[in-house]
Amino acid sequence: MIFVEQRESGMFRSLVWKEILDHLLSFRFVAGLLFVFALFIASSLIFSKKYAGQYADYRQQQQAQEAALDVSKGGLQRLYRARVPTMKEPRLTLFFASGNESRFPQSLTVVPSASSRGGLYAGMNIAAQRSNYKLDSYHDFDIVFIVGVVLSFLAIVLSYDGISGERARGTLKQQLSNPIFRIQVVLAKYAAILIPLLIPVVLGSLVCVIVILLQTGQNILFLYPLQSLLNTVLSALFLSIFVWLGLWMSAATSRSVTSLSLLLLVWTFIVILSPSLGGMVAQRFHHVSGQADYDRKFQQFVNEALRKAPAAYSDYYAGKQSEQGWKDIEQFFETQNTVMEGMVVSRFNELLGQAETADRFNFFSPYGAFRQSVERLSNTGLSYHKKFFDASLRYRHTLASFIKETDLRDQESSHRLIPFPGMLSISTKPLDPNQIPRFALPSRQVSMMDLQNALPGILYLVFANIVAFFLTIGTFSRADVR
């Protein structure tokens, strides 16, 4: 008995080994591999160049931020009405999944006094970016694209004749007459396709690291070890679905050619066409009010708010001022600002809601789920944009409370925190620039929250694998060898 088991495992290993060698030497694998490598190298070269540009832009924006925070003249009073730009940090993980960030707004403007737009210019125009409106939108050649489109294609091309090919050649009977379970044959074939496919993923990532390291002095793998690992695992999970699909189809059909034709039609639908459906469906079924409507509503609110202003407000223009009056006005503006900020936030959430509907729809396609999980783990795309928006909002609160607290410590100030010129009167003493809080970017590292967000995608991929696995096993164990 023991003897038999040993023989079987030895058999299994030699089977895997034979299959791997078979694939490594096949024309389709070598051609695909070369193409993937070329893509990896070209896109990492381009990425590092782009990254350098983004970094320069980011530096520039930081200087602009410093300039806005420079209140050596005017002190708190100036800081209160300053327009402080916040900017997304360029991340090396953009190479894992670019999240189409070049089509996104990259910066926001924070105003501590919140006199209009809730203190947050939602920066919803993308004019500030280096994008060319004359070109069609395109996909970045990030790892998700290379794995998701190119390697999944290769997975199908490698696996479509796994079983039907052997059947056609007549070697399947021989194979099955060995003292080995059918499930082992399938597993051997599976491993023999997936392992060669992971070679370009791992090697390609290493090549990218080297290229990016040489070009920018920073590397992806060691700065983001957890993210790199998770991305590789996700890539393997995603590719494995296609390997199972390929083996299933090759077990279910009698001719390799039929199997490949069917697989490709399925692949085209899953990988190329269906990810475009989410956006269209969301546009059709998840309506958001137009920007012009929103602007009008906002302006209306501001106008009406001024009409509801306390008596002290009109008294001021009539030349009457009192201590209680100032308090009333300050209280009034504080309330209004909270409401206005609420409007800005709910507008942002409204826009985000539409995008999330699209995301949710795209989730049904394994490619969409794969892309979303990698984006969440890599801190790019929509989820990062939300983090960035929240961080900017928090930054406004930090600045506002910093101003309030520091002003209270100044004995000579009259403590009138009212966002209207003429009414505003707070400390004008020069400030130590190091005291002023700086914008804190969302963390680069992957958090528990990110993992949680990425979990549905990961579970979905695992589930798809299990289904495809049982389909293959089921079909193959019933398959007639004749």
Partner: protein, 520 residues
């Protein structure tokens, strides 16, 4: 004989499962695309009509030429179901003002910038990828399949020449492809019409048929690629893999790579960076304004001066500071001089705007055009990109179409400037009076005569509110140019020629190898 083979191939393939599956997928996608696009078009059309009505109302009630302003609107194209082309929002209202040259502004009317992350589908993408795949799947075993079945010898032993046989077989596949493409296109057209609640014009039908012709040409190229690999390979499965690699590269990757490379290899400037350069021309004029104010400070700031003596009326024109005074009382020479100088400066702002446009074009547009040129030359090597280009041209959604619109808008703005120049007035405070005089009268040297004229007119000059609206029937009118069918074909000429070249190349290669084919 060719016809017999073609008919046999057609009938054999039209009911093939590959055709059925791709047809079903295509119809599903075409439905989604047409419903969404048709719906969107209906909304956009309503918006467009409202905008046009508003734009027409703008000039109706003006009383002085300084109020003259206009707006032109870019209409949406119902054919964008075929190709969404470049992703610019429509309808686009472009204000026409002498002091601003119309140009595309990225921040105009983006409804939800977050939605830009998602791709949207159009029929050209479905055809470009799915039907090209179908073309390969239908043809990869043209010769190798017959060989494997053993029927090739039989076929070649008949009277048919090899060439005839190949033509017949290819014709059969192409007929299948053409049938599927035609049905899907017609289905898309009908669905859009139903959901957008419109009827296509003859012109649009011709454009749609041109789109169909391009599609068939494109699919023929892929049919030829499939046939070619079937000739050079001994086994059908090798042929299929080879043809699929070609398909994957040409139809899926190459068009993306071209745009990606073009936009990453050549830099473009950020608008913020060139803003200071753009502001320079008008800045110089504003400085002159400042100097003029300073020179006249004594009477402008005099509390008993012009503010008291001239009744002003604010006008919501959006053009500069259009505060209009019913001119000068009692021959205030200094004020008159001031107003005339202001008019001259306002005129200078118009030239500054043209200068700004020149700088904008040089610093901003030219790098964009360079990227576009790189993309276009890369596209020349890619049948799929050529197909996409022709399709967006026929759908009136390509960059040429948008640029034509903006060129027309700029021309129209120049006409307006010339028209206002001819009327002798420009936006400023002095119009009411001057607009009623001839151009010769707005001449600083001629003050004496003008004052005399004013004295004579003094009592007959009404206040602005009492003026009757100007007669603007001679004002220039914006004419949107629609490309005639001939121009369209002419513009698509080079694209067609290149696609034909690729087709002929593939066909020549295939025929060459078929003749050389060793039957053993």
């Amino acid at each position: 004989m060719i016809w017999t083979i073609a008919k046999k191939e057609f009938l054999e393939k039209i009911f093939d499962f590959r055709v059925t599956i791709s047809f079903v997928i295509a119809i599903i996608l075409a439905t989604v695309v047409s419903v969404v696009v048709g719906d969107e078009y209906a909304t956009q059309k309503a918006k467009y009509d409202a905008m046009v009505a508003e734009a027409q109302g703008i000039g109706k009630e003006i009383k002085v030429y300084s109020q003259f302003r206009s707006e032109v609107v870019l209409p949406p194209s119902p054919l964008c179901v075929f190709s969404k082309g470049i992703d610019l929002p429509t309808p686009l209202a472009v204000p026409i003002s002498p002091q601003r040259v119309p140009k595309y502004d990225v921040s105009l009317a983006v409804e939800n910038p977050l939605m830009k992350v998602f791709d949207s589908l159009d029929l050209v993408t479905v055809f470009r990828i799915l039907f090209a795949l179908l073309a390969i799947l239908l043809t990869f075993d043209t010769i190798s399949g017959e060989k494997e079945l053993g029927t090739l010898r039989l076929l070649l032993s008949s009277q048919v020449s090899r060439r005839q046989m190949l033509v017949g077989k290819a014709a059969g596949s192409i007929m299948v492809l053409a049938a599927v493409a035609t049905v899907t296109t017609a289905f898309g057209l009908l669905t859009v019409q139903a959901f957008a609640n419109l009827l296509f014009s003859f012109h649009q039908f011709v454009q749609a048929s041109l789109f169909l012709v391009t599609t068939i040409l494109y699919l023929t190229i892929f049919a030829m690629i499939g046939t070619f690999t079937s000739v050079i390979c001994q086994r059908s499965s090798t042929s299929l893999v080879l043809a699929l690699f070609a398909w994957f590269f040409i139809a899926v990757v190459q068009p993306e790579i071209n745009t990606f490379l073009a936009s990453e290899l050549s830099p473009v400037s950020k608008l913020e960076e060139i803003q200071s350069a753009l502001d320079q021309p008008s800045q110089a004029v504003y400085e002159e304004f400042g100097r003029l104010e300073k020179e006249n400070a004594s009477f402008l700031n005099d509390p008993t001066g012009y503010k008291k003596r001239f009744r002003g009326v604010h006008l919501q024109t959006g053009v500069g500071s259009a505060k209009i005074y019913p001119v000068v009382t009692d021959g205030d020479f200094q004020f008159l001089e001031y107003l005339i100088k202001q008019v001259a400066l306002q005129r200078k702002l118009v030239d500054a705007a043209s200068e700004e446009w020149r700088i904008y074009h040089h610093l901003y547009i030219e790098p964009l055009d360079k990227q576009l040129a790189i993309r276009r030359s890369l596209d020349n090597f890619s049948p799929a990109a050529l197909y996409r280009r022709a399709a967006s041209l026929f759908s009136s959604t390509d960059i040429v179409h948008y640029e034509g619109f903006f060129d027309n808008a700029r021309k129209y703005r120049n006409e307006c400037v010339a028209y206002l120049d001819e009327k002798g007035v420009f936006t400023s405070n002095a119009q009411l009076y001057f607009s009623r005089l001839n151009k010769a009268d707005v001449n600083p040297v001629d003050t004496e005569r003008r004052v005399a004229q004013y004295q004579a007119d003094k009592n007959s000059i009404p206040w602005v509110e009492q003026q009757s609206p100007l007669d603007l029937r001679d004002a220039p009118v914006f004419r949107a140019s629609t490309m005639s069918i001939l121009t369209l074909i002419e513009r698509a000429g080079s694209t067609f020629a290149l696609m034909l070249l690729y087709l002929l190349l593939m066909a020549a290669l295939t025929f060459h190898y078929v003749e050389k084919y060793d039957i053993r």
